[in-house]
Amino acid sequence: MNDFSRDSERRKFLKDAGALGAAIATGFPAIISAQTVTNAIKVGLVGCGGRGTGAASQALQADDYTELTAVADIDQSQVDQCLELLKRNPKIAARVKTEPTRQFLGLDAYQKLIESGIDVVLLATPPGFRPLHLAACVAANKHIFCEKPISTDAPGVRSVLETAGKAKTKNLSLVSGFCWRYSNMIQEAFQQVGDGAIGKLVAYYATYYTNPVKPMPPDSTRPAGMSDVEWQIRNWYNFVWLCGDSIVEQAIHSADKIAWAMHDQPPVSCVGVGGRVIPSEGGNIYDHFEINYIYPNGMRAFLANRQITGCYNETSDYMLGAEGTCTLGRGPVPRIEGKTNWNFTGQRYDMFQREHDVLFAAVRKNQPVNDGTRMATSTMLGIMGRMAAYTGQQITWEQALNSQEKLFPDNLDWGGKLEMRPRAQPGVTKFA
């Protein structure tokens, strides 16, 4: 098994960077010289919420010579809270170097951040913005950490596939926030399944039954004069153009594991059900989905999610093989029962930290990693399921990937009007 230890990873690339450091360090204490050499990696964070703040913290802990030098958001209070939290961690506080002139606000803040002389961008806004932000980062030759999912519509997915290809040509690193791919515990479970521990894989059943994420506040709480665009962005989880709906924003982790089990090959088609049974105060997302996918070799995958309080909850994966079952998420470690009996017994490493350890090591060593195609395929799996549930039709992969339905508006204006699409109605809503 690979050694996933963070320290050994860090030691490895510090050793690689060591020759340069030693050359410049002559006559100075090592630690000061390291700070004064020009090889600090400058990081910019776009989207300063809880996940973005977590990602920035991990970026600063992945490499002792990273610096957070710019942040972008729509709201100063969010920026302030993010920076305050980061500065409370003594291990990274000194490397939070974001003067007020390097705190950018507004819908074009990402562009100003990209132009502020940074090396790596962390993208952690609501997913609707991702295709636009990714394209701008790659155009400006930035390395990227890209939170999941990567789009809310098929045109966005196609844009990301193109951008990922450009990143590859330019030798840029693009690490995706589909975090389970970076969990050594889950990697080992997939390795077991790949090695035949449950025989031939027949079906994959995944559950994402949870409580609601960010319920829509009543319209009466909307401040006077706040534009449609601002109101919707501030309540982004409730609008399909921004979040993609729960199957794209949350259950997408399970879609990603399904894709992993299917070796990232797309399904032939899917059918699905979904709807909203709990009235909401607004927005146009569903509160439940169940999607059935079929793959070229006849394998099936079932993805079920619900976000309703007071129901049976479960977030698990069941890989059903001809000779056994691999179960994730029932108890703390993966388990295989059948032809082989196995459960994970090793030490698990922090998958969120691991994402950044891999990214910054790749940047240091100039050995690019690129999760671009895979993250686009996994996101598309969720979007395809949503299309099937929204329309009530069987949707093929080709149809879905080539869909012309563009949810993310052109020329978004912070103060602008924005009609909300009505909530989809199966049998009435048409595939586009």
């Binding site: 776009v46 989207g47 300063c48 919420g49 809880g50 996940r51 973005g52 703040t53 977590g54 920035a56 913290s57 958001d73 729509i74 709201d75 209070s77 969010q78 809270q81 305050e84 939290l85 409370r88 961690n89 291990k91 952690a124 806004t125 609501p126 997913p127 939170e147 999941k148 926030g177 975090c179 389970w180 039954y209 949870t210 409580n211 994420v213 960010k214 962005i233 501030r234 309540n235 982004w236 989880y237 924003e249 949350q250 982790h253 309080t309 049976y312 909850n313 479960e314 977030t315 998420g329 029932r330 108890g331 703390p332 470690v333 388990r335 459960n343 698990r348 922090d350 998958m351 969120f352």
Partner: protein
């Protein structure tokens, strides 16, 4: 208004994790409420002159109950003996400890009990409005199912932070009018030993452990219903195994010399002392003297900063039980027991 942009929710999140440390008015409100809870307790204080007896408590306005077992005051030797081949360095030096009398919950706090605290309005709060109970801060709504399929009715509650366990103690005190808190590390070991000086409460022969405990050797990879194994000499179930249990103390090296009612007050969020071993541990971690330090990795699945102050999603082998000291402490002491002030972390 807390705005939501930029929060790319990943696998695990809680609504409104809350970043701020307690403000001065919050602290004043909490102190006032602790006084009100203490007044309620003092209406029916335990009779100091009476021999402690076992008794049952039904949580008011519910059908959910638990048993209290008396633990007499006394002296014991804390830590591992030289004759214990599996002892760890942190279990030494052995030292004499005197503790006052208390009752202890006979079994680990179950989901039946803990869910009343986690979810408002499940314990008759609407028909029996109670301002004192309502003023105790309660966990945020968990996003995922917290038993991870291991069972709810009769099974131990897991994955709560020490802060959450402290707040449960405060909430239960307000609900029942009896003072509850986590045991100190010394009280925990004293109760676990139940008079025994050996590695386990039943002796030194680990081959008998399966009669008394759920551990990795017999758990089949999950926790089990509480109180299904043989209790120790004082009637306490699952002190060894099933789920590890929170104590009040900071995890710190032992000092030489005798102690009376020791409580190592925490000055930092990690590590706190956790005891008893779990369904996930080998036999030697279930020894009476075995200690485990709490660790930030127990929140590894929480992708956000700030992290939740209520859940250790990765500690699916971690629970607790409460004690009721025979002597009711002062309001100031109660405040200290229920408010560590260390629930926020930034790393």
């Amino acid at each position: 208004m807390r705005v939501a942009i930029g929060v790319a929710l990943a696998v695990w999140t809680c609504l409104g994790a809350g970043a701020q440390t307690a403000s001065a008015p919050e602290t004043a409100n909490e102190r006032a409420n602790v006084s009100r809870i203490r007044d309620r307790i003092n209406r029916h204080p335990p009779r100091a002159d009476r021999k402690l007896r076992p008794y049952n408590v039904t949580i008011p306005n519910t059908t959910i109950s638990y048993s209290m077992v008396p633990v007499p005051s006394g002296e014991f030797t804390m830590g591992a003996g030289e004759n214990d081949p599996t002892r760890s360095k942190d279990e030494q030096p052995r030292h004499k400890v005197r503790v006052d009398a208390f009752w202890m919950q006979a079994h680990e706090v179950t989901w039946d009990e803990y869910l009343l605290f986690m979810f408002a309005n499940q314990g008759g709060e609407i028909s029996h409005k109670d301002e004192v109970v309502d003023a105790v801060s309660r966990p945020t709504l968990p996003y995922v199912e917290m038993s991870f399929g291991m069972g709810l009715n009769g099974f131990p509650a897991i994955s709560m932070t020490q802060h959450a366990a402290n707040k449960y103690a405060e909430w239960l005190s307000a609900r029942t009018g009896e003072f509850y808190r986590l045991p100190t590390e010394a009280e925990w070991e004293y109760a676990c030993r139940a008079g025994a000086a050996t590695q386990y409460s039943f002796g030194a022969d680990s081959s008998k452990l399966g009669d008394y405990a759920w551990y990795s050797g017999n758990s089949q990879g999950k926790y089990h219903e509480v109180a299904t194994k043989t209790p120790n000499a004082w009637g306490l179930y699952d002190m060894q195994g099933n789920v590890m249990e929170w104590t009040l103390d900071q995890y710190a090296p032992y000092e030489t010399g005798a102690r009376v009612n020791p409580w190592i007050k925490a000055t930092k969020p990690y590590p706190h002392a956790v005891r008893g071993g779990s369904w996930n541990d080998p036999a030697n971690m279930l020894r009476c003297s075995a200690r485990v330090p709490s660790d930030p990795s127990w929140k590894q699945q929480d992708p956000q900063l700030p992290k939740s102050i209520w859940y250790h999603t990765d500690a699916q082998w971690l629970g607790f039980r409460l004690v009721r000291p025979a002597k009711v402490p002062s309001a100031e002491e109660m405040y200290r027991y229920w408010n560590s002030g260390l629930e926020h972390e930034y790393q």
